[in-house]
């Protein structure tokens, strides 16, 4: 009795001739052929393959779109922050040690302007007793939520905005009652142009509208304000020249050191009463928040993906039952159990990888539409290009594990009889 001889083993020389076991080659399925077999399996059932790949495509597409849209929005916000600059600081009097409202001395503005690394500073003086009306006949309580501030000429430059119409308070505004409106204030008053002597009634005095500002992205509180010059504020409203807020531009690399020195410079007697803010921090926090929001949506995309994976597993189980004849035939043709299971695994993984690639297209398309509509840069993170089909492949392989094991366990004779 001789055992089966495997390739590479020597055939015993003394075995009698008629019964000499010939060497028998191994059953093989090269990788290239495996891909061919898997593709063939998918091609045979195109509609079913397309529908089950769609489940994965939707899941991956949702995730790519979420990542793409939030990256685009984030990129837009970051670009905005970069163009506005992160070197703007604001100081306000805050409260003193005893909890009373503090004031900034008039001299604080020239002091700040003389600081090392400070490029420019612009104070505003909030008027507490003035409201803006189109005519004296408007009821006094209908203020429109518009405040009145006295401002210096350089305010638009320091806060990083421009004029939508007209000009800002200039030298002549020191002597005449002129007013410039913030973007929101102009919208509330329904003033869109400055030509034709548009007048506003502030306090008991008519002011000519000479300019309208574009929105101030770094500090939107300035948008609902009407600006007049400090001499006019002193003349008509007895405003004290004590800044309610000072906008400070430092050099880009010394923001922190300037911020640290500002309180003591603005109010040497009580530095702890001065609060310093960096308006760009708010925008940066918002950019970070957009990133946070995506986690939840990614979770929803993952649920869609899970459903897609179950769909593939389901289809593959049905496929194994339907293709018992083919499985039996392949076993008869020399396929090992391993060859059968790897075939079904490859089909399932390939199906999901194709789904993943389509999902990438869907997600990129959705991002493109969104970013075009919002005039934001179109960004799909580079890792998504590889991650989407890879994720599909892995999910498909996992979903195919059980059906593949089931196919391999099938008895070939039973399958051929069916």
């Amino acid at each position: 009795m001789t055992d089966m001889v495997l390739p590479g083993e020597n055939v015993p020389a003394h075995t009698p001739p008629p019964d000499t076991p010939t060497e028998i080659g191994r059953a093989r399925l090269p990788f290239r052929e495996l891909i061919g077999v898997a593709l063939q399996g998918l091609r045979t059932r195109k509609l079913r393959a397309a529908l089950s790949a769609l489940g994965i495509a939707i899941g991956i597409g949702a995730m790519v779109a979420v990542v793409g849209v939030s990256s685009s929005a984030q990129a837009n916000l970051i670009a905005e922050i970069d163009s506005l600059g992160t070197n703007l600081l604001t100081i306000s009097p805050g409260t003193d040690f005893l909890g009373n409202s503090a004031v900034l001395a008039p001299s604080s503005v020239p002091m700040i302007k003389h600081m090392l690394h400070v490029e420019n500073a612009a104070p505003i003086y909030q008027l507490t007793n003035a409201n803006v009306y189109r005519t004296p006949f408007v009821p006094a309580e209908q203020t429109g939520g518009i405040g009145v501030d006295a401002a210096s000429e350089n305010l638009p430059k320091v806060v990083g905005t421009t004029l939508a119409a007209g000009h800002f308070l200039a030298g002549v505004s020191q002597a005449y009652p002129e007013v410039v409106l913030g973007a929101q204030a102009a919208a509330t008053l329904q003033i869109t142009r400055v030509s034709g002597h548009v007048m506003l009634y502030i306090g008991n005095q008519w002011f000519v509208v000479v300019g309208i500002l574009n929105p101030v992205k770094l500090d939107s509180s300035l948008d609902s304000v009407a600006f007049i010059s400090l001499p006019m504020a002193e003349k008509y409203f007895q405003q004290l020249p004590e800044p309610s807020e000072v906008y400070v531009r430092s050099t880009q690399n010394n923001v922190t050191s300037v911020a640290n020195l500002l309180p003591a410079t603005a109010n040497p007697q009580d530095p702890s009463g001065v609060s310093v803010d960096r308006p760009s921090d708010v925008l940066e926090a918002r950019a970070a928040a957009k990133g946070q929001f995506t986690t939840l949506l990614l979770g929803l995309g993952a649920v869609a993906l899970l459903v897609g994976a179950i769909g593939i597993a389901n289809i593959m189980v049905i496929s194994v039952l339907e293709r018992r004849g083919e499985i039996g035939l392949r076993r008869a043709l020399g396929a090992t159990r391993g060859h059968i299971s790897i075939q079904f695994l490859a089909e399932s993984a390939l199906l999901a990888a194709i789904g993943g690639a389509f999902g990438l297209g869907i997600g990129a398309g959705a991002t493109e539409i969104y970013s075009a509509a919002k005039h934001e840069p179109f960004i799909v993170p580079l890792y998504a290009l590889i991650a989407a089909p890879t994720a599909g492949f892995i999910i498909g392989a996992l979903a195919g594990l059980y059906p593949a094991a089931k196919a391999a366990r099938l008895s070939p004779t039973e399958a051929l009889r069916a």
Partner: protein, 222 residues
């Protein structure tokens, strides 16, 4: 290549004894018909000869190899290279052309596709289907389909051909054509074992094994 069964029994779950102590020796190049009523254990014997199934007890030796102790991979290798099956239900793949169906018969030998197609074309020519190379199974008649299946079994030049009622689904004329093709193969020296319940078909074979109730009741020659 010789095939040998020694005291082979096969019991299926549920206690059905499909084969009882069957011993038979089929030397290389023999052409054997297995005849018997349905349920007599013909197909079970064929699947055990073809190593698709293992016996419950006894020994199966193919070309001197003891298959009862071989692994799944070794048996698959044996089937891939040395054994050709022909089934009553053809088992062709509907989405593939005749050439690709035949080429798939050699898939697990590891031969490259181009070489497999070349051998497939030659095999189809040989069974008289040279003009049907790129036809899909549903475009072929029953007799032509079975000849494709025969081409698939013989393209790799196996040492053993096992045919289970190859004419069972065919009319007598196409059946005769299929049989003549199978007989011709015998001239290559391949061992042929054919199952049939048709005594006339069995009569054309030099050796006939008669089966009943899982046993060989007569080993008839000449």
């Amino acid at each position: 290549m010789s095939v040998e069964l020694a005291q082979v029994s096969k019991e299926y779950p549920g206690g059905v004894l499909a084969l009882r102590d069957v011993s038979v020796d089929i030397p290389a190049g023999d052409q054997v018909a297995v005849v018997g009523p349905s349920g007599s254990g013909k197909t079970t014997m064929l699947t055990i000869l073809g190593t698709l199934e293992r016996p419950s007890s006894g020994q199966v030796r193919v070309a001197g190899h003891d298959t009862t102790r071989a692994s799944d991979g070794q048996l698959a290798g044996l089937r891939a290279h040395q054994i050709g099956f022909v089934f009553q239900a053809f088992h062709l793949q509907e989405s593939m052309t005749a050439v690709d169906n035949v080429a798939t018969g050699m898939l697990y030998t590891g031969m490259p596709l181009a070489r497999r197609r070349e051998l497939a074309r030659a095999a189809l020519e040989r069974v008289g289907l040279g003009h049907r190379l790129d036809f899909k199974p549903r475009q072929l008649s029953g007799g032509e389909r079975q000849r494709v299946a025969i081409a698939r079994a013989l393209a790799k030049r196996p040492a053993i051909i096992l045919a289970d009622e190859p004419t069972g689904n065919l009319d007598s004329k196409s059946g005769a054509g299929v049989l003549s093709v199978l007989h011709e193969l015998g001239s290559d020296g391949a061992t042929l074992v054919l199952i049939t319940h048709d005594v006339n078909i069995a009569g054309e074979f030099p050796r006939r094994l008669h089966m009943r109730d899982g046993e060989i009741v007569e080993d008839e020659r000449g």
